[in-house]
Symmetry: C2
């Protein structure tokens, strides 16, 4: 039988390096082998670093499902793995590139005749049994840097013909490519997981610190969390409506920015923050400083530029009568304009020492009334729509 | 000429997937081609996403250095790149797999005779010139997903023999492997850079927030930064002395932990923190709460377990007379024992409202005197040694 599928499989093996999802990759390659080579079944046993054992990552073909689930994981000291790992440290030319069931049976039979060493006999018998459990007639190991990466398990051909040596050599090369692509994908996955975990840790630490800072102000418990949630919902709606094209990382920055929007309060005396009565003009002036104090804290961090804008300008007004700079209209960064609406809305619905909380309906009315004067009308309108949809 | 190097190069191409340093990878492969195929020179032009142009990543061989440095970058609209990108979107069978200088010259000559379209003539003339600038007699493009990834530039063979079609086909396959491995390595590098940037951002944000919290206490400016530095120096010395085997991430946790060790002060009224006179017993009791308040802030963050221990226990004493839990000896986590020594040392050498700063010598003497009572003796001893070495 000529191996006419060779070119196609080689071509596929070439491109798989850049597929960084291990599961997709394995599924793709096993399916391809089964179809092109016309096998009843094929599977891959792959090393799992975390558990130091080999896992049957996938199994395809008409007989694929017959593999007992309990055998889905193979320990490193199993016969099949032991047989191949003993070659792992050896020179390329000494490594076993494939093991065919039939050959093993022949060796076993020969060994019986010449009464060979018991240990080898025992190992081969076990290997033969394990291969039968996996319904494979040939096993092809793949190594990387003296380590057994995995084993490609091939089922019988539908034509019931035997594998030729040329075919087995070809599969050895292919298995090597596949295993390396999979290892590569796994490393990629690990790195991506670590990056995700890191971003997540950063976010949660920011949440914890924001909560601690907020705790200084006894009147605003939970305020930061609610403002953050509402800001993100508004931004999401703006994105969907396509009125603004939000830059990359905008939502991430808005998340951090709204968590930290009142961070400057850390520099405001508690006596003023927590004063039960009405504040004097001087005390208000001190409170207003929290925008600039917050900006100063983030100043040294270049990547926080957008968050800094959120902290600094969330008390600006669309008509230019806000603070600290009296910016007008679209000059106010969108990130700050969003937080401004969310912040004002949430401030209205909580009790303050000098006034009682308003109802949600009243607060929405107030946002509507101040759209275009205090608030960016597009952002304010976004909140009004959310209210109509019952999402605020 | 038989291509006996084929097997070796293919073997090498297989393993390079797992080399994740693009520079190493490129150097390795170009050097190998030059040596095995016995070329005067070889180079790779590789797509640089950031600048949307192609860079001569490396050039090797006896003529390698003759390439003018000014041509190290080739714009996407250059003739050589244009020639190959026009094939990028086409089916595999229609793609040009290699371009040999000699063939181009033949085509140019033929075009002159039959007065072919000017544009093609112009492009080919330019390609021919660019190839000569790179001293290459053959160019092999590599594509991935309809995008031109790079071009392998081959110099003349030392034997001056021409490349056969079989050789060119082989190089096309090899170039594809190489480019993909390089793209993969670049993606890896990008991910690793992002991870590093992220960790760094986390650290700098923590520093900024710690500084903001510290600013509440007017007597301790710069204290956190100094304690953090000293703690890290002590830990480094402990590692070198091999007395303790520090767990993975210990230094990272110590860094964050010492930056945040006084984070609980955020919950202590400024009137007490900044009281100019001596504190009453009740006021001291409030100050002592900063350890538990700090721990409570970090409580929700699972990954901060070690840092939390630093925050919570940095006022414990080796003899068990510390707070908040009165832990004794080795029960006090090492991370807290280190910060305890660094914190006490730095507190002694700064002015306090109720006493003047001591000298460094006096502070060292005090640490020595309290070794084994207030301080973990191994850690205290470490500081004393650092002092003897003039590093404190």
């Amino acid at each position: 039988m000529s191996i006419d599928y060779k070119r196609e499989l080689e071509q596929a093996a070439r491109t798989m390096i850049l597929i960084h999802n291990p599961a997709t990759l394995i599924r793709m390659i096993v399916r391809m082998i089964v179809r092109k080579v016309k096998l009843r079944h094929a599977a891959i046993l792959l090393f799992d670093k975390k558990r130091n054992s080999y896992v049957l990552t996938i199994s395809r073909g008409e007989r694929g499902l017959r593999i007992p689930a309990g055998f889905a994981r193979v320990d490193s000291d199993s016969a099949l793995i032991s047989l191949f790992t003993q070659y792992a440290g050896k020179a390329e030319s000494l490594k076993k590139s494939a093991m065919v069931c039939e050959d093993i049976d022949k060796m076993l039979w020969k060994n019986t005749l010449i009464r060979n060493e018991d240990k080898e006999q025992e190992l081969l018998t076990k290997v033969s049994n394990e291969m039968r459990i996996f319904e494979s007639v040939a096993c092809i190991p793949t190594y990387f840097q003296n380590h057994l990466l995995g084993i490609l398990l091939l089922g019988e051909k539908i034509s019931t013909e035997k594998f030729t040596q040329e075919e087995l050599d070809f599969f050895a090369a292919l298995a090597s490519d596949v295993s390396m692509a999979i290892s590569n994908a796994q490393l990629f996955q690990e790195l991506q997981d670590e990056l995700k975990a890191n971003k997540d840790l950063f976010l949660r630490t920011t949440i914890a610190l924001a909560a601690a800072i907020e705790a200084k102000d006894i009147y605003t418990r939970g305020h930061t969390e609610r403002v953050t949630k509402l800001s993100l919902v508004i931004a999401q709606k703006l994105t969907n409506s396509r009125i603004y094209t939000l830059p990359e990382n905008f939502l991430e920055n808005l998340h951090i920015g709204s968590l930290l929007h009142d961070i400057g309060k850390i520099g405001i005396p508690e006596t003023i923050l927590n004063k039960p009565g009405k504040l004097t003009e001087e005390e208000f002036a001190v409170i207003r400083e929290h925008t600039l104090k917050g900006a100063a804290i983030l100043q040294p961090i270049k990547e926080m530029e957008e968050c800094l804008a959120a902290v600094k300008y969330h008390h600006e007004r669309y008509d230019g009568n806000g603070y600290p700079e009296g910016l007008v209209g679209e000059k106010i960064p969108l990130i700050a304009a969003i937080i401004s609406v969310a912040d004002a809305f949430d401030a209205m619905i909580i009790d303050r020492p000098y006034r009682k909380a308003r109802s949600r309906v009243e607060a929405i009315e107030e946002i509507k009334r101040c759209s275009g004067s205090q608030f960016n009308p597009v952002v304010a309108n976004c909140l009004l729509e959310l209210a109509r949809e019952g999402r605020v």
